[in-house]
Amino acid sequence: MSTPKSLFDKVWDAHVVRKIEDGPDVFFIDRHFIHEVTSPVAFLGLETRGIDVLFPERTFATADHNTPTINQHLPVADPLSANQLKALETNTAKYGISHWGLGHAKNGIVHVVGPENGITQPGMTIVCGDSHTSTHGAFGAIAFGIGTSEVEMVLSSQCIMQPKPKKMRVTINGKLGAAVMPKDVTLYIISQLSAAGATGYFVEYAGDVFRNMSMEGRMTVCNMSIEMGARGGMIAPDETTFSYLKGRELAPKGEAWDKAVAYWKTLPTEEGATFDLEYNFDAADIEPQITYGTNPGLGTGISQHIPTANQVKDGEASYKKSLGYMGFAENEQITGKPIDYVFLGSCTNGRIEDFRAFASIVKGRKKADNVTAWLVPGSHIVESQIKEEGILDILNDAGFELRQPGCSACLAMNDDKIPAGKYAVSTSNRNFEGRQGPGARTLLASPLVAAAAAVTGKVTDPRELI
C-alpha cells in the first residue's frame, strides 16, 4: 500500500521538474502574477542578460500597489508611481503579457482579481512578488510570495528554485459564535502560534470551520498565513470551490471543466497522511479578535485585556517597544479605546462578503464624527457588486463613501496614509510600525469590528450591535 499523501505533497510533487542533490527543487509555476512595484527590476534583469520571457501567457499583470483610490481617470500625480505604472505597461506590452492596468474593467488587487476571473484553480502552483500570494491557497493551490530575483526566474524560465517546506496542519472543529468572521479565525490562529510560529512550514487548514467557510472566507484565512511566518496556506478543494469557479471567465469550460474537476477531486489529503506539526483548536474558543501590538501575532479576543509581557512569546524589550509605539499599556482594556480611522479593504478583506458584513452593522446607523473611513473595494468587479446589491446606498445613507480599487492604506504607498500617532482599525493584514503611514497605529480586525468602530468612534465589540 502506498503511503497516504497530503494535498500539499500531491500538488508539490506534480511540479518538480528536477531535484538538485543537496539543493532546492526546480519547481514549475503554472500561473504568475505581477504588479508595478516588484516587477520593473526583474524586467531590467532580463534586458541586461538579453533573455526573453518563456511563457508570456502564464503571467498576468495588474496595477494595484501605488495606484490612487480617487479620480483614477486623471493622470497619476506622483511622478515615481506614474513611472512604475508606465514601466509595467511598457514591459507587459513588449513581452505580450496580459495587463489589467489602471482604468481597465478587470483592474484591482492582484489577489482579488486572480480568483474572481477564474485564473486561480485547484492543484496549480501560483507565485507573485507579493507575500500575500498565499491567498490563492484557498482553492487548493500551492501559492506563495517571491522576491524580485525569483520574478525574473519565472519570467525567463517559468521555474524557481525551492526547497520543499515542512508541513503543518491546523484543524478547527466546531461551530463559530456570533459575529466571528474568517478574519477572527486567522487572527486567533496567529495569536496562538505567534508571528513566527509557522516559519518554514506550509499550512493546510482542515476541519468543520473551513469546510463550512465560503471561498471569500477561505481566501481571508489563507491570505494571512504569511503573518505567522508560513510560506503559504491551503484548503482542500470541494464543491464550494467548484461552484465558485464554474463559469468564471478563465476557468476551464465544457469537457475541460469535467476533466479538471475529476482531477481536483483526487487532491484532498488522504486519511492517515502525516504532518511535521499539527495544531487543533476549538471553534467555540474564538471570539471577535483585535490586535494591539506591532505584529499580527499580538492580538486577542476583543473582550480581553492587553496581556502583560510575561504572557506573550515576544521578548520583553520588543513587547514594551511595541506597546510604546501603540501608546498602550499592559493590562488595559481594548474596547472603548477611541480611534481615528477605519480602513475596509485590501486583499485580506476587500471582497464582496466583507462589504456585506460591514454594511450589516452600519445600516441604519451613522458614521461617528471623529472617524475618517476609507472603504476600498478590492477590484472593479467587487465595486460593481457593491453597487448592484444596494450596499452602496446603505453605506452612503450612513455617511460613508466608496473609493476606487487598489491596495490603498494596506501599505500606504499611495496618498492613503494614516497620519502619525492616529489609530486605525483596519481590515488589512499588517500592523507593523509605519505600515499604514509613518507613525500610524494599526489595530487589525474583521469587517464587523471595523464597522462597529466606524459607527461608535471607538473599539467596540460587534456583538453589541448585531
Binding site: V17, P24, S149, Q158, A196, T199, M413, E433, G434, G439
Partner: protein, 198 residues
C-alpha cells in the same frame, strides 16, 4: 544580477538586538517606487534612522559611529513580513554582506541568498554571546567562513557552524545565481510544460 563572491569575511559588526525586525522597517514601502535597483542603502531603516525632518535619530545604532562593519547582527525572526527583495538590496547596498540572527523569516532568507547577502543562522545562545562580545568591545570582530560554514567570535575563539545547502553555497562562493542555472535547462522545462494540465 551579479554580486560579490563570498568566501571568508572578517569584520566588525553592527548589533541590533530587536526581535521581529520586519521588512517594512528595513525599507518602508514608500521607498519601493524605483524602477532600478540602486540607492536603497540610503533608506535602509529609514524611519528608525531619521526623524520626520530628516535629521538622524542619535540613539539608532546605524547613527552611532562606534559601530560599523559588513555584518549586521539582528534579533530573532529577522526579516519577517513583506516579500520585498528591496529589503535585502537595501542591506547589501548599505555595505553589509552578511546578516546574523537566531531565526530568519523564510522569504527574506531566500531573497538574501539570491542576491549575495549571506544569512547566518546561529543558536540563541551564540547570538547572545555575539551581542555580549560587541557590547564589551564595539570593535570586536566576527569571522564568517563560508567554505567551512563556521562563524567565530575572533577575540574569544568561540565558534559555531551554520547550515546552508550545497547548491546555494556553491553559488555564493562563485557569485552565480539561479537564473544561470535555469537558463541551462530550458529544454527540460519546455518538455515539462507541454505535459502540464494547466
Amino acid at each position: 544580477m551579479a554580486y560579490d563572491k563570498f568566501t571568508v569575511l572578517t569584520s566588525t559588526a553592527v548589533p541590533m538586538p530587536i526581535e521581529n525586525v520586519d521588512t517594512d522597517q528595513i525599507i518602508p514601502a514608500r521607498f519601493l517606487k524605483a524602477t532600478k535597483r540602486e540607492g536603497f542603502g540610503d533608506n535602509l531603516f529609514r524611519d528608525w534612522r531619521y526623524n520626520g525632518d530628516d535629521t538622524p535619530k542619535q540613539d539608532f545604532v546605524l547613527n552611532n559611529p562606534i559601530y560599523s562593519g559588513k555584518i549586521l547582527v539582528g534579533g530573532r525572526n529577522f526579516g519577517s513580513g513583506s516579500s520585498r527583495e528591496h529589503a535585502a538590496w537595501a542591506i547589501y547596498d548599505y555595505g553589509f554582506r552578511c546578516v546574523v540572527s537566531s531565526f530568519f523569516a523564510d522569504i527574506f532568507k531566500g531573497n538574501s541568498i539570491n542576491i549575495g547577502l549571506l544569512p547566518v543562522q546561529v543558536s540563541p545562545e551564540f547570538l547572545d554571546k555575539i551581542f555580549k562580545a560587541i557590547e564589551a568591545d564595539p570593535k570586536a570582530e566576527l569571522e564568517v567562513n563560508l567554505p567551512e560554514q563556521t562563524i567565530t567570535i575572533v577575540a574569544t575563539g568561540e565558534q559555531e557552524s551554520f547550515a546552508i545547502n550545497g547548491y546555494k553555497k556553491h553559488n555564493m562562493l562563485n557569485g552565480y545565481d539561479d537564473i544561470d542555472y535555469l537558463q541551462a535547462m530550458k529544454d527540460e522545462i519546455k518538455t515539462f510544460a507541454e505535459a502540464s494540465l494547466y
